[in-house]
Symmetry: C2
Subunit: 377 residues, 2 copies
């Protein structure tokens, strides 16, 4: 910028022509604009930071003695969520709150395994404020009020299968999962253990608290996999949740008492796929907001003896019953299997794969169709 101004100063202070300054002004103008407008690849933030929300406390039972510290004299804060937020310039009115799945953290929404923009950056570049959540007892929100034993047992290949990348070491034909050992290693290294048992209600309270403490009047919730159950719980707790987009929820579907479908038999290692009962009054919260549920590819339509993929057949079936139940009660829920809309080859991590721009376009359309994309006034 300074070089440009210096150049302008040198060339444009020649007063031999009355017109020249005006022409130079136009040239300067163009140069300044080229130099100062952020390109499509930059992100300008008016704020970013982190905070904890929700959680519980184990209170001390007696005063602390610094000379003889003992557990009874001490307290513990745990079970909160840890939130990383970024507000872009000209942000839309509704921010997006994103919760990861099992064995993952907020890291799930950052760079893709092959190092491209993840959902976080793509939403920022579409002017959405993003709130990335580490759920209770996970990642940077690791303090738990319940103990846990971490076994360090090898399990990469199990998750590779369960996430429908293929049957290790094979890839399913046409897979959109980033290719090569480097990307796969990055993926394995983005896994991170639960530091306490998963609790959908606790996680839902965490999402609700994250929105409450954000200063925004409401937000869109995006969940993945296990986090899906937390999304439904959050919407039943807080009316600040204005919409939910759920990538491949795989457990914790809720139905009104008396309307819970029978568990769905399948060939997975997780037993029959069961749903949970909640009071109808609570369930009705899910009928008051738009909900979209996405599933990817490689999910069998009929019973399969592949234990990893047959799980997802059951999940999709339950998700369709869930959406039907919401809609029967007056709501607006839809289940989209990406192959049905012409998007093929996606695994469980569709938002982080080679075609993630196309996958996320679906999400942006959902936002637009439901008028969730208004600019802040």
């Amino acid at each position: 910028m300074r070089a440009m101004l210096k150049n302008y100063s040198k060339n444009c202070n020649d007063k031999t022509s009355a017109l020249k300054p005006a022409l130079c002004a136009a040239a300067l103008c163009a140069a300044l604009l080229a130099g100062c407008s952020s390109s499509a690849d930059t992100i300008t933030l008016t704020a970013q930071g982190a905070y904890a929300a929700g959680g519980s406390v184990i209170e001390a039972k007696e005063p602390y003695d610094p000379y003889h510290p003992k557990a009874e004299g001490m307290s513990l804060h745990g079970d909160h969520v840890s939130v990383l937020y970024q507000i872009p310039e000209h942000a839309r009115a509704l921010p997006v709150f994103m919760l990861h799945g099992a064995g993952q953290s907020a890291r799930t929404y950052m760079s893709t395994p092959d190092g491209r923009d993840g959902l976080q950056n793509i939403l920022l570049k579409h002017d959405y404020a993003v709130y990335l959540i580490d759920g209770p007892r996970r990642g940077q929100a690791g303090r738990s009020t319940v103990p846990a034993e971490l076994t360090a047992s090898p399990d990469n290949e199990f998750w590779y299968g369960q996430f429908r990348m293929g049957l290790y070491p094979e890839r399913y034909t046409g897979s959109q999962f980033p290719e090569g050992s480097k990307a796969l290693e990055q993926f394995f290294r983005q896994m991170t253990p639960a530091t306490g048992s998963y609790d959908a209600v606790l996680s839902g309270e965490g999402i609700a608290a994250a929105i409450e403490d954000s200063g925004f009047d409401g937000g869109i919730v995006i969940t993945h996999s296990q986090g899906g159950s937390a999304g439904w719980q959050a919407a039943m707790i807080s009316d600040k949740i204005k919409a939910i987009a759920s990538y491949e929820p795989g457990s914790g579907f809720v139905f009104p008492e008396g309307e819970v479908p029978a568990p769905i038999a399948n060939h997975s290692f997780f037993g029959d796929f069961a749903a949970e009962a909640v009071p109808l009054e609570d369930f009705m919260a899910l009928t008051r907001i738009p909900i979209v549920i996405y599933y990817g590819d490689f999910i069998p339509k009929a019973e399969s003896d592949n234990p990893h993929t047959d799980y997802w057949r059951a999940a999709v079936k339950m998700a369709r019953e869930f959406a039907a139940c919401i809609n029967r009660h007056g709501g607006h829920a839809q289940v989209i299997e990406l192959p049905d809309v012409g998007i093929h080859g996606n695994t469980h991590f569709m938002f982080a794969e080679r075609n993630n721009a196309e996958v996320i376009d679906q999400l942006l359309s959902f936002f637009a169709q439901n008028k969730l994309d208004a600019k802040a006034k």
Copy 2:
């Protein structure tokens, strides 16, 4: 911006004077610059993302059988670091790699407990690219190749004392730690457990790998507390570490074999404060880069029966022996106790306290004095 241009167009197309266009060009120039340069409160990023670096693998001992998964047929990637990076526009040539202390994660450098800009944002606003590291077996880098038992034992008050905020629930007089229960709660909730034992060499390898994989030719390393030991190890592994600023290192000081000082007796719960021996050849790496070590306030000059603060008396004493040893071998290390330079009231988390701007000015001066602040060419 558009309104400004329209206004310019309206007022400046009057050709009654040969001089007017030039004057208008100057006015336009000022207006454009005012409109397009981001304010001091915004951060424009040309890139941000996350990656894993370093780490090890437990290899599978036999092929994976998806129908009968067992541990022997599976692998595990663990012990890596997880890195969150942000590159600001007009970034300086050397990025900053930041590792947290015990019971902390990269979260330590984000917002302060009272919600203001932490070291991350302040460095970005000074045009430094930042690389925030979750060390091996911590936070979002939680996958460990060794098992761990998490007890969820209450310990807030112990760390409150050990971090020199006061003797719970009292604050030391003049403390710069953010006031009020809300800030203290945020602080307690930014703690997160180790998901495997701490290993200074492993953590040092993680820092070195993070720099190696960043694409930069070198970086400045900032460490806190326990992370200090990883900083020294990293510099002995990689010549891409161009400087180290260490906030309150509290363990893992290294000395050449034969020059290790006697352990320093103290009244803490951690026993005598001991240092470690390394080959002289390795140690010499620490003499080739500028090193600064900062300590805060409330550290007794003479032996104290306060077990929490007496620990730090021993740490400062060992740090001074460490710096003297580096300098004796031709290096450039300094220990700065902030009260000695007129900065009072800081606890162990000086970079996140009420006077953090002043504390971080010291760091920026260290960068400038050592010519670490050059702009990228």
